[in-house]
């Protein structure tokens, strides 16, 4: 059986039945999106890699709780969110000012653009994101950076679709205010 042709759900069902090798293709599919999910939330490369690592340990440990009628992607985001909150609850006391952002090396997306221009814009975006409230940042990350549909976010966060939509719009509005305010300073 070719692993590449199996869906996420088919793979996870096999993992649930203790076939751990099937978790490897799932890891390969999800390590990058989940790493970036955590990175957008924490702005911390090391912490984000640790979170991905812990996420997959949790998946192994709680494999039996996976229900085959659920989309794997929804399930992994639910686990990822819970993990992040656990981590965040511990960190929140020690967390310093919002401007303390890691230097992250984003890949250049266009050969025509100067690296400094990209780096400057990314830095500014991250700083603006860090000033958003936690729930706004999270919704924004899922909707705009992780490319999740409102319906999917609603499932992950246990909100109604219309509520998600309104909140994502508000988050974008807040980010706009912060982003263009800082450019005037």
């Amino acid at each position: 059986m070719n692993q590449a042709t199996l869906s996420d759900e088919e793979l996870m069902i096999r993992v649930r039945e203790d076939d751990f090798d099937q978790l490897v293709p799932l890891f390969d599919r999800y390590q990058k999106p989940m790493f970036n999910f955590f990175l957008r939330l924490t702005s911390d490369t090391d912490a984000s890699e640790d979170l991905v690592q812990n996420l997959f340990i949790r998946i192994m440990k709680y494999r039996s709780s996976y229900r085959s009628e659920h989309k794997f992607r929804t399930w992994i985001y639910q686990m990822g969110r819970n993990l992040f909150y656990d981590h965040y609850r511990k960190e929140v006391k020690t967390r310093e000012g919002f401007m303390n952002v890691d230097k992250v090396n984003f890949e250049p997306f266009s050969a025509h653009e100067e690296y400094e221009v990209i780096e400057g814009r990314e830095q500014k975006l991250r700083m603006a994101m860090n000033q958003l409230s936690d729930d706004k940042r999270e919704l924004l990350v899922m909707s705009k950076f992780q490319g999740m549909k409102y319906e999917e976010i609603a499932k992950v966060t246990d909100m109604t679709v219309s509520n998600v939509k309104v909140k994502v719009h508000r988050a974008i509005n807040s980010l706009r205010e912060i982003y263009f305010q800082t450019s005037e300073l």
């Binding site: 970036n36 890699e49 340990i57 192994m60 990314e122 975006l125 719009h169 982003y179």
Partner: protein, 260 residues
């Protein structure tokens, strides 16, 4: 329509999510409102910037660490399965021994009493079977091969009320056996007797004697399953101690969240 109402539609408009009626309303207002026009321009620019922002590759170390933890988990599951198979095999061995014993005993009583075996003698017989099983276990624990010793440890599953001697032997095996696999089997066997406060305390203390990551993780998992809050301190020590494998630290951190 007022600016405030329009702002509610702005992001939807920029993302082309509005229905025809909302869109028309918004555009009528937009024509006459400079403020909303500039805000819309900003919104579109921001959305464009977000689109241009690219994802970052995690380091290659992440994958190799994942493969390590996967292999540890696999070996744990593998050991459990082997345990189940071995148990059934050994069950027949013990059953054969017990059958022999019963035949011998019955023959003996037949000769001496001419037939009837009363309840007293039956319980006597049970005791003897039990002590025989214990003897088999103790002698197998002295075997050189680790797999023999694992089987010995697994015999305990068949004991209803193991003697203090058996429990102490298991605890000694847990902390002193040279094979991490035998130690792990001892943890699994002791789990059944964790209602006993002495066993529980010894299990908590056992963290001090373990250096193998798989054994450490098995012990962590057991503490979490038992909801043994007194182990939290041991978890913290694993997290703080320098020479502990990262995967163990990770597991301890996860476990800590459940215990606190």
């Amino acid at each position: 329509m007022k600016c405030k109402e329009c702002q509610e539609l702005m992001v939807g408009y920029a993302q082309e999510e509005l229905n025809a009626q909302e869109k028309e309303q918004y555009e009528i207002h937009l024509q006459n409102c400079n403020d909303c026009q500039s805000k819309l321009r900003e919104t579109k620019e921001l959305l464009n910037i977000i689109d241009l922002s690219s994802a970052v590759e995690p380091s290659s170390a992440l994958r190799s660490e994942f493969m390590d933890s996967l292999n540890i988990e696999k070996s744990r599951i593998g050991a459990q399965k082997v345990r189940e198979v071995n148990f059934s095999k050994n069950f027949y061995r013990i059953a054969a021994a017990v059958a022999l014993l019963i035949i011998g005993y019955s023959a003996g009583t037949l000769i001496s009493h001419g037939g009837d075996t009363d309840t007293n003698e039956l319980s006597e017989l049970k005791k003897e079977v039990q002590s025989m099983k214990q003897m088999v276990m103790m002698s197998m624990l002295r075997d050189e091969s680790a797999s023999e010793r694992i089987q010995a440890v697994n015999y305990v599953e068949g004991f209803d009320e193991p003697s203090e001697e058996v429990i102490e032997t298991l605890l000694r095996t847990l902390n002193e056996d040279e094979s991490p696999n035998v130690r792990r089997a001892a943890i699994n066997a002791l789990e059944k007797f964790a209602y006993d406060e002495h066993v529980r305390l010894m299990l908590i203390r056992s963290f001090e004697f373990q250096t193998d990551p798989v054994v450490q993780i098995t012990l962590i998992d057991l503490m979490v399953d038992l909801e043994e809050k007194r182990a939290a301190k041991k978890f913290q020590q694993l997290i703080d101690q320098e020479d502990i494998e990262k995967i163990v630290k990770n597991q301890a951190e996860i476990g800590l969240q459940f215990l606190i």
